[in-house]
Point group: C2
Chain length 449, copies 2
């Protein structure tokens, strides 16, 4: 029985897929403080024009530069796995496939965009990049990418993750990056948070504020974001493109596609290329899976809000829990984000994709089942997609439906062993749904227009 | 430029290669306390007969059972990489290839034999396996393998590694194994060591003694060794067999093959299939790379000695530093072993393979260079092979020789970040060559005959 479906390097996609080209109505523009659309040039203080053009492009296909492809070949095309042993463990008639993005040197899908962003910045003459990181997967990815092209990288790491995952910091440093626990006293945004909450565990929103502030203030420095923005999701579509080619090699096509959803790049990366088929009339369900304690799509509102915690970014029309919502300290640090990609939000609001929320314990239960059947230890973020897939596969076992399920194994959990320790020792708990905190933060949404 | 040379699953080797068939003179037998060859049946207290038969076989090819191949397909064939970026960083005319064994779920080459051993034990009706582990890579591999076939696994982990690498313990537990820091007070061997050295940091030799003692005392329990023995090296030859096929795909063949050498399975795994060609007259140099602070081949003696620390195993004719030699606490825990495989020792003594020793700092320097050029963070053990390859590639840069070099990237360093931390912060030091300790322990070699 074939386990891995491999794509030769020569068949690695040459273009990224831009979902905007197939959306029934275009996404709403980013707005400035005055409520008017932000002109592309306004983002030039922190992004190179090449990425800004991708951010607003409506072209269906955008070429991947050969220099980027050369670095991606260090791990791409990534293998697609048929999860024979997980299927057997679940005694399900469903066929389960997973795309293994854990094979990148940084251990997740994040380098797909980090490498592209580093290259476009280098082309624009930039010498330094700043960024934020939650679980550390994005920071590692940018550290790796910066190293590949000779750019300096500074990472603001969410403090709770910095403490939970010290080895992610070491990994970033091995790849030559500087790493600081956020909030820091090095930026105005950090100092403001520390003044109000000296013991703040940090959040992605706060760390973004710090990194953006520094990049905006230095000519030689730009900012790189690991998710949310259109060009980031664009760079991740290589995942879904490859998966489609690999499934075609074995004559298969998914009924449902599952991916974790924090900022949206994990989900967009694998799901958007399948959306192209859906837009052309094909039956396929695309499911974004989020933590029940940070339920942006399933419990948030569709409104204009800032991407960061203190209002430095443009306003984005997205599902949000409020920019000052502080998610509980779940172990899937990469999913602790108050908002969501504007593209994912728009598709969800238009009823073209689905979303579901899964509690923390269920995700680790699914992750351990996966590790014990398929071998690979999944990242806590990836466990969300596994949990959703397991739910569906169990449903298939009850109904007898032989559905074809695909999920994105977005990363490995080698740097998340404290989380597994806590789960295995029974110390891990589900958080209550933070209804009051969400109600409170939603009252602080910006007034628009 | 092609980076990864992939082999389809259908071309995964169907047989292991037994180097004994091509050795000019056969290896010397294992001896009992009476100085006479140990009959195969004498090992039946801790090993199944199928593995004992492999241990003494002289057949060139031994079939890999389909059940074993099915599990190996979770990560095999492993990719062969052309290290374009490392070559560029070294400005060398040498062509550098590496076989990436870090892609296994346990992160090293060790599951190749763990899976085979677990399966043959299960076939023999065994319910539990005991073993030792140094850096934790072997213990993880057996935990994974046991889980794949429903066997219980108990791991005695060298105490200094248990403390340096707590997350390896968590990983073993995630795969369902029990883990204890060795020496423990659970075995006679452990209690004996603790009585003499209450603060003993442990060693592979001590941990082996504990695991063997437990297995010998229980009917339902066998012992599994991660290196040294003939059948273990046999199971690893799939590495070199695949590498040969992959190099043939790009029309290449190595001038030199490098691998880390502790107990010998890493080296034997990649090198033995090339030895088959060498025995047939082909020019190829096979180089075992060891730590200068545990220089078994380069500074030890070729003599009969015990494989463990207290004399529970048969006597093996091998290079040894003395069974009670306590190696300095280097970070490549998997290479802290006083002896070496009898097969590797015999070939080295016959002048058919080479050996070199590398100091700790040089190995980490090479590892960081590798991580910053090729992306992948190597295990400290693997850094030994990288360091040796880098030395040779630099020599090629001086002489202009375009040699083809191949090394075994035996594992990743995701669970070795404290070691990288210490290296990057300048806290890591080279150990002095432990001449006095070796001279002392060599006086305790057993008298034979």
């Amino acid at each position: 029985m074939q386990t891995k479906i491999l794509l030769p390097e020569a068949q690695m996609p040459s273009h990224w897929y831009n979902v905007v080209a197939d959306m029934p109505t275009p996404p709403d523009p980013y707005l400035g403080p005055d409520g008017r659309p932000v002109p592309p040039e306004a983002m030039a203080a922190i992004f190179p024009m090449s990425l800004i053009e991708q951010e607003v492009s409506a072209e269906r296909w955008i070429a991947i530069p050969e220099e980027v492809r050369e670095v991606l070949r260090l791990w791409r095309p990534s293998p697609l796995f048929r999860a024979h042993r997980l299927e057997a463990a679940l005694d399900t008639p469903a066929k389960i496939y997973y795309k293994n993005e854990a094979v990148s040197p940084a251990g997740s899908h994040k380098p797909n965009t980090a490498v592209a962003q580093a290259w476009f910045n280098k082309q624009a003459g930039i010498k330094r990049l700043t960024t934020e990181t939650g679980a550390g997967q994005w920071g590692c990815s940018l550290a790796l990418a910066g190293q590949m092209f000779g750019l300096e990288v500074r990472v603001y790491m969410v403090k709770v993750s910095y403490e939970q995952k010290p080895y992610r910091r070491s990994l970033m440093q091995t790849w030559g990056a500087e790493v600081f626990p956020s909030p820091t006293d090095m930026t105005g945004a950090g100092r403001k948070i520390l003044a109000a909450h000296p013991d703040s565990p940090g959040s992605l929103g706060i760390a973004i504020s710090e990194a953006v502030e520094e990049a905006a203030g230095r000519q030689d420095t730009n900012y790189a974001l690991g998710s949310v923005l259109n060009h980031v999701l664009l760079h991740q579509t290589i995942i879904g493109e490859e998966a489609k080619k690999q499934l075609a090699l074995v004559g298969d096509y998914p009924d449902m596609v599952f991916a974790p959803c924090g900022g949206g790049s994990n989900f967009g990366g694998i799901a958007f290329p399948f959306f192209a088929d859906k837009a052309a009339g094909k039956q396929v369900r695309l499911v974004a899976v989020e933590p029940s304690s940070c339920p942006t799509l399933t419990k948030g509102v569709y409104a204009y809000d800032w991407g960061d915690a203190v209002g430095l970014t443009p306003l984005m029309h997205m599902y949000t829990l409020g920019h000052d919502f502080m998610p509980p300290g779940i172990h899937a640090g990469g999913l602790r984000y108050h908002g969501d990609s504007a593209l994912v939000s728009k598709l969800y609001n238009d009823g073209l994709i689905e979303a579901m929320a899964v509690p923390q314990l269920e995700t680790f239960e699914a992750g351990v089942l996966f590790a014990r059947s398929e071998g690979i230890l999944p990242a806590p973020e990836s466990c969300h997609a596994i949990a959703a897939t397991v739910r569906e596969a169990k449903q298939c076992a009850r109904t007898g439906e032989p559905k074809t399920l695909l999920f994105n194994l977005s990363g490995h959990g080698h740097f998340d062993m404290t989380s597994y320790d806590r789960y295995l020792s029974g110390e891990l708990e589900d958080f209550e749904y933070p209804e009051a905190a969400i109600r409170e933060s939603l009252q602080h949404l910006p007034k628009v227009g």
